[in-house]
């Protein structure tokens, strides 16, 4: 059992259009108080984002399921470090998901398009983690869209 030697890396790319300007979208993607409103990867749940948007700073994205067993600790808590922050264009951070992804990089790029903002999320991942991450990111990005609807 040696996953590092056998796992191939794949690129997950998601594009979304948001009814807002790049500055507001950038803030929603980096300010912890706003991230708490949308950064959870299940259809229902809640988020507790810990980490200030500073290059080199660590973050932990705690995600909880609202229903079911009372959650004392987070059900899922990917974490990492901010690598690049360029308001309102680009956010790059590392992404570690204990047991699933050792180390990966997420790049989010924002671009103004006809009064809206196009978001492009790129996540390089071991092949087996692409499907669950696509599901999780889509859930997160759906919750994010609700902030601007």
């Amino acid at each position: 059992m040696n996953p590092s030697s056998t796992t191939s890396i794949q690129q997950l790319v998601i594009k979304r259009l948001y009814q807002t300007d790049p500055e507001k979208l950038y803030d929603a993607l980096t300010v912890p108080e706003i991230m708490n409103k949308w950064f959870y990867g299940t259809a229902n749940g809640r988020a507790n984002f810990i980490g200030e948007p500073k290059v080199g700073a660590d973050y932990t994205a705690e995600m909880y399921h609202e229903s079911g067993e009372s959650s004392v600790c987070a059900d899922y808590a990917p974490h990492g470090k901010y690598l690049e922050l360029e308001r309102p264009k680009k956010i790059v951070f590392t992404w570690i998901s204990e047991g699933f992804v050792d180390d990966s990089i997420v790049t989010i790029e924002l671009r103004a398009v006809d009064g809206q903002t196009e978001l492009t999320l790129t996540h390089e991942l071991p092949a087996e983690s692409v499907t669950p991450h696509t599901e999780g990111w889509n859930n997160c990005l759906n919750h994010l869209a609700e902030l601007f609807s």
């Binding site: 059992m1 899922y76 047991g99 699933f100 087996e128 669950p132 991450h133 999780g136 859930n139």
Partner: protein
């Protein structure tokens, strides 16, 4: 003996075990891990589910004592714990045994009644029923 059976079957400590087994995603995970040790990623693969959901299912199984998580470096490896499966099986067996015993007693009782009926006041019964 009967009281003992009831206490075992109704023991609240069994709740996490049967709750864990109440979901088809988790039963699939138990089955996979039971066949051979699986990494968290391998257990996630058959399910089109986000990792928070997968992670939650794994925690429920772990808390129920159905799987054991072994961390080797950055890899989390899951195996099943047969003790929990044996426990589930034994309380269910106790319950079926309970009904076997009750039905045997019912059978004895009916046999006894029939015997008593035929032994005495055999002719009185039809008039009473009228």
């Amino acid at each position: 003996m009967i009281i003992n059976n009831k206490v075992n079957f109704l023991d609240p400590s069994l709740d996490p075990l049967f709750h864990a087994l109440s979901d088809v995603t988790r039963r699939r995970m138990v089955l996979d891990a039971h066949q051979k040790p699986h990494t968290a990623g391998e257990l996630a693969r058959p399910h089109s589910m986000s990792l928070p959901a997968i992670s939650k299912h794994l925690k429920v199984l772990e808390n129920a004592g159905l799987v054991h998580r072994q961390i080797e470096g950055k890899t989390h490896i899951f195996t099943t714990k047969t003790e929990a499966l044996v426990k589930a099986q034994s309380v269910l067996n106790e319950l079926t045994q309970f009904w076997h015993d009750r039905l045997n007693e019912l059978e004895d009782y009916i046999g006894q009644e029939r015997k008593e009926d035929s032994d005495s006041e055999q002719e009185k019964l039809p008039t009473e029923l009228l």
